[in-house]
């Protein structure tokens, strides 16, 4: 009979160990990366230069800043571009740099410049990579089973789109950007659709992670039963998805700027915390699993 494997911290005991290095700042970088690139993508699509600019700034300052704060040796950050062939961190940095470069050039072009669209589209492609690469980054690591699932990049992409859409709605309602009528009509339903899809993806992700082996199961338990269950259900599911969905349905953008702001904040809270919590519950497998009695 084997006793259940313990979850350990610094004790010299074989067991599951939570990863402790990737937390707040990495979650912030993920968050700003997705919200910023989502906003950028949507803004190119909606042809809002201000939206593009804000998206770029969120990526530059939010994501870039979080990374710089996080790095142990920030002055050497440029070295991180050395290995795009194998490293998703390298790829992400390349994508981010190219997105920023192309994006900033594009918006600084005079209106009607023929270069605008090609550059913007290139930047959108890069932004797309920025939005999803962290999903691949997490998936590509065999060490932490709950991260190591195919849904991770998909989830990243949809959260980016959701974040972008929310931000666009928000900016529009505060009067920062103008949208044509058909988009104004379309956006709320896009938002609702994305919220439903994200909710489904999160649920699918949870169901899937039960079967990612014992360490994945440990992560799952931490997330839904353990110390992280309250923030997870309250902030990620409750505030981030269910509350936003209800508000969008019941009140919607017609209810005015205040409501939109509330929805936006709720959405961003959910967005930040899902990745923060998923990082937190990352659990390594026990090194030797084979002591039998």
């Amino acid at each position: 009979m084997g006793r259940s494997i313990p979850l350990v911290e610094k004790e010299f005991v074989a067991g599951f160990r939570q990863q402790t290095e990737w937390a707040g700042l990495i979650a912030s970088a993920f968050f700003f990366g997705k919200v910023g690139s989502g906003l950028f993508i949507m803004s190119v699509f909606l042809q809002s230069r201000l939206g593009m600019l804000i998206g770029l700034l969120i990526v530059l300052c939010g994501k870039g800043g979080a990374h710089m704060l996080y790095l142990g040796r920030p002055l050497r950050f440029w070295r991180a571009m050395s290995r795009p062939g194998s490293s998703w961190v390298s790829r992400g940095i390349w994508a981010m740099s190219l997105m920023l470069a192309a994006g900033f050039i594009a918006i600084s072009l005079p209106p009607g410049s023929p270069l605008f669209m090609p550059l913007a589209i290139f930047a959108v492609i890069c932004a797309f990579v920025v939005a999803v690469y962290d999903g691949f980054l997490l998936t590509s690591s065999p060490a932490i089973p709950i991260w190591n699932t195919a849904l991770m990049p998909v989830m990243c992409m949809f959260y980016a789109l959701l974040g972008g859409t929310t931000m666009v709605l928000f900016l529009k309602h505060l009067g920062f950007i103008q949208l044509s009528g058909k988009f104004t009509a379309l956006l709320p339903s896009v938002e609702i659709t994305l919220l439903v899809v994200n909710l489904l993806i999160v649920l699918l992700f949870l169901v899937g992670s039960i079967n990612t082996g014992s360490a994945g199961r440990e992560s799952f338990d931490l997330l839904v039963k353990g110390p992280y269950a309250v923030p997870f259900f309250a902030l990620v599911i409750g505030v981030g998805l269910v509350f936003t969905l209800l508000m969008s349905f019941v009140a919607g953008p017609r209810a005015g700027a205040g409501t939109v702001a509330l929805i936006t904040v709720a959405d961003l809270i959910g967005h930040y915390f899902i990745f923060f919590l998923l990082l937190k519950v990352g659990v390594f497998k026990p090194v030797l699993g084979f002591l039998k009695i």
Binding site: R3, A14, R73, S82, V89, S140, S141, L291, K292, I293
Partner: protein
């Protein structure tokens, strides 16, 4: 040549001499341990089994830490030793979350300003700390500096009173490590992750 280690779980008595020998050899700062010996207990009294499991970097042939490293700081030598180039590492810790064995350790910024007895460092610490940098990731080096000096044993192997750790060339079928792996059925940890560790366990 592929250097590797065999850990005989039958021999290991959990004395932690290896843990301390590694600290002494490498002069690591407080809290940093490249190797340690874990207890593994199963069963309920009186039917209890306890095993001591020494862990250290496996110097994986197919090392995820190397794959994910964006700077190339993590690299593999000809002899299979996986090392971190202190001057290249940026402290992004991608390798930390990629190592299935949780063997990578981040040295926080400022960590080298204090020794075990506070700000005033001992002569030993003053001699050893310059070998380190803060803000980067460290791990077991298979005592590459010893190997480069022509020694045949790492410090933890050198001291192990039980001879539970054995070091040698995995590519040489006649080396002690290869023979032990064959005769006793050496196992790699978490082999399902396809990392192909150079550390084998005998049980």
């Amino acid at each position: 040549m592929r250097l590797g280690m065999v850990i005989d779980l039958k021999r290991c008595v959990g004395c932690q001499a290896c843990t301390v020998a590694c600290k002494a050899e490498n002069g690591t700062s407080p809290g940093i341990m490249y190797t340690k010996v874990l207890d593994q207990v199963s069963g309920t009294y009186p039917n209890v089994r306890k095993q001591f499991v020494p862990v250290l970097c496996n110097h994986c042939r197919n090392a995820p830490c190397e794959r994910v490293c964006p700077t190339g700081a993590t690299h593999k030598r000809e002899d299979g030793i996986v090392l971190v180039d202190h001057d290249k590492c940026i402290g992004c810790r991608a390798c930390y979350v990629a190592c299935p064995y949780n063997n990578r350790i981040f040295l926080k910024r400022g960590k080298l300003k204090e020794g075990y007895y506070g700000k005033k460092m001992t002569p030993y610490e003053r001699a050893k700390y310059p070998e380190h940098q803060d803000g980067i990731v460290e791990k077991c080096k298979f005592c590459s500096h010893r190997i480069d000096e022509g020694l045949t044993e790492t410090s933890c192997v050198q001291t192990c009173p039980a001879d539970a750790r054995i070091f040698g060339n995995l590519d040489d079928p006649e080396s002690k490590v290869s023979r032990l792996i064959r005769s006793r059925g050496g196992r790699q940890a978490l082999c399902e992750d396809d990392t192909d560790p150079s550390v084998y366990y005998l049980d």
